[in-house]
């Protein structure tokens, strides 16, 4: 095929280049993803007997709970991938390049979004094959739920990375944030088993909606998936908008303490 007959449009070339090099950066720093895959697998197996005693949907809770918790931890992969661009001063170089804002965002977001999906998919398969979670009733619904949850995480992680003032802040925000979001969201202690006052505060954690969406998706409950799904989408959109605004303006010199 000669390049004259088939010329790829420039925006696609640029977005493609950004996706390629962002993926390379992720691949060369795989330790986070690996630990966020192995740890939940261990916990799933550990908690499964406990949950099956306490709940009808015990094995689903064991799998989706850990999946939610460690996918929230994986938010730090998103945050880190953006934060290094600030730390290395490379973001301004991209901003000054010919690439449009949308191309930069797609190049940055797609690889980490893919990482988030892979993590969820691997954990679902592990949950079904090893932990004894029933096979999802609708793979389409589950995929949709995983994408929506991935989008919410992407937005939250991106926002965090653009508003913190130092790497230390980012560590704290990601670690403490992930623990709060996931535990209040019912990843460790299922919401149904919480005392009423605790159940009341679960509404404030995005994890609550993520978990109930994923659980309903595994059970094949369309309405139960879509309702929290809309909330997750909104969270992703709002956080994503804040991140996009910050990224578009850059930080100049005044950015990191």
């Amino acid at each position: 095929m000669s390049t004259d007959t088939l010329r790829v449009p420039e925006p696609l070339i640029r977005a493609g280049a950004l996706i390629k090099y962002n993926s390379l950066l992720r691949l060369r720093d795989p330790s986070q993803l690996i630990s966020y895959l192995v740890a939940p697998m261990v916990f799933m197996v550990m908690f499964q007997p406990l949950y099956t005693k306490a709940l009808d949907y015990g094995s689903i809770q064991a799998v989706t709970g850990q999946l939610m918790m460690f996918s929230v931890f994986a938010m730090s992969i998103v945050a880190n991938s953006i934060f290094v661009e600030r730390e290395w001063l490379t973001w301004d170089r991209l901003r000054a390049s010919r690439a449009a804002r949308a191309e930069l965002l797609i190049g940055k977001a797609l690889p980490v979004f893919f990482v988030l999906l892979i993590q969820q998919a691997v954990l679902i398969v592990f949950g079904w094959a090893v932990v004894g979670m029933p096979f999802p009733k609708s793979l389409g619904l589950l995929t949709l739920a995983m994408c929506v949850w991935g989008f919410a995480l992407l937005g939250m992680g991106a926002m965090l990375s653009t508003i913190v003032r130092s790497r230390g802040d980012l560590f704290v925000a990601c670690d403490v944030g992930a623990l709060l979001i996931s535990s209040i969201g019912g990843a460790i202690l299922p919401v149904d088993l919480m005392p009423p006052w605790a159940q009341a505060i679960t509404t404030f954690s995005p994890g609550t909606y993520g978990l109930s969406m994923l659980r309903s998706a595994v059970q094949g409950d369309v309405v139960g998936t879509l309702q929290p799904g809309v909330i997750c989408l909104v969270i992703g959109l709002i956080c994503g908008a804040v991140a996009t605004f910050r990224l578009a303006h850059g930080w100049g010199r005044s950015h990191l303490v």
Partner: protein
């Protein structure tokens, strides 16, 4: 090619730019010099489209920078490289972002790597490079797509003499091909080598602009006479007269006579450029 008029920029207490104007023609290398904090990098960031001026305007080839971004090649003052990516990957990334297609990109990388002496570490990750190697890599990412306007902010800081010369040669070649180049440096003799025109910045504005011949014209050179007794220095615009005068009063036997033409250091001194108010 580049036209900046009356740029101002204020940060809390610092007036970083204070009526900064500078025009650079196609094919011209403009040596931008000035004390630390004079506003050189702030100016470069504005031309890159990264920073908006409080007032004033920048035009690159007739349009504002954010509309022409691809036509500009930038080598920032501070190292901005992806530590896990190799030198070749950097050149590929910035080349592709500038719209180079595969074949052209490959050819440009080969040519530039040879000219800039990057071949021996082309596959090495940026994080593993020495400081001077990183700086050359960064300069190469600015050059890869043959931009019409090149902004090089201290591109030779920390480079050894040989590689510095390699970079200067590439810069000269790009100017000969018609690129407008803004070249910031604290090494004034580089600018003589580049045959650059000069812009001297001080406290946020350009206080002297012209060819080095114009700016040096009328500046005192120096006469040095060493005798067995003493060493005589005299600043002068009329070397012959000064030499006669020195010889007339000199005691002892003359050992050496030296006439030094005014250079950029003298210009700097004559403009009393400093960051002390």
């Amino acid at each position: 090619m580049l036209e900046a008029t009356d740029l101002t920029k204020k940060y809390d207490e610092v007036q970083a730019l204070d009526g900064f104007s500078l025009s650079v023609a196609a094919g011209e290398i403009c040596g931008l010099v000035g004390h630390n904090g004079a506003g050189k990098t702030t100016f470069v960031d504005m031309v890159s489209g990264l920073l908006r001026p409080d007032s004033g305007a920048v035009l690159v080839d007739g349009v504002p920078p954010h509309e022409t971004r691809g036509e500009i090649g930038i080598s920032p003052q501070h190292i901005a490289l992806y530590r896990p990516l190799s030198v070749r990957e950097h050149l590929e990334l910035y080349g592709r972002l500038a719209g180079l297609r595969r074949k052209a990109l490959k050819a440009e990388i080969e040519e530039l790597a040879t000219a800039m002496q990057l071949t021996s570490f082309l596959e090495r990750r940026a994080g593993l490079l020495s400081g001077g190697q990183q700086r050359r890599t960064q300069a190469a990412t600015a050059l890869i797509h043959r931009p019409k306007l090149l902004l090089m902010d201290e591109p030779t800081a920390g480079a050894d003499p040989e590689t510095r010369q390699a970079l200067l040669d590439v810069v000269k070649q790009r100017a000969a091909e018609g690129a407008a180049i803004v070249y910031t440096t604290h090494y004034l003799n580089e600018l003589a080598d580049l045959k650059a025109s000069l812009a001297v910045a001080s406290h946020g504005k350009v206080i002297a602009r012209g060819s080095s011949a114009e700016l040096l014209d009328g500046l005192p050179g120096e006469v040095r006479v060493r005798t067995t007794d003493h060493e005589y220095h005299r600043a002068t615009t009329d070397p012959t007269a000064a030499l006669m005068a020195v010889l007339a009063e000199a005691r002892g036997t003359v050992e050496s006579v030296e006439l030094r033409n005014p250079d950029l250091d003298d210009l700097y001194r004559s403009l009393a450029v400093s960051d002390v108010h």
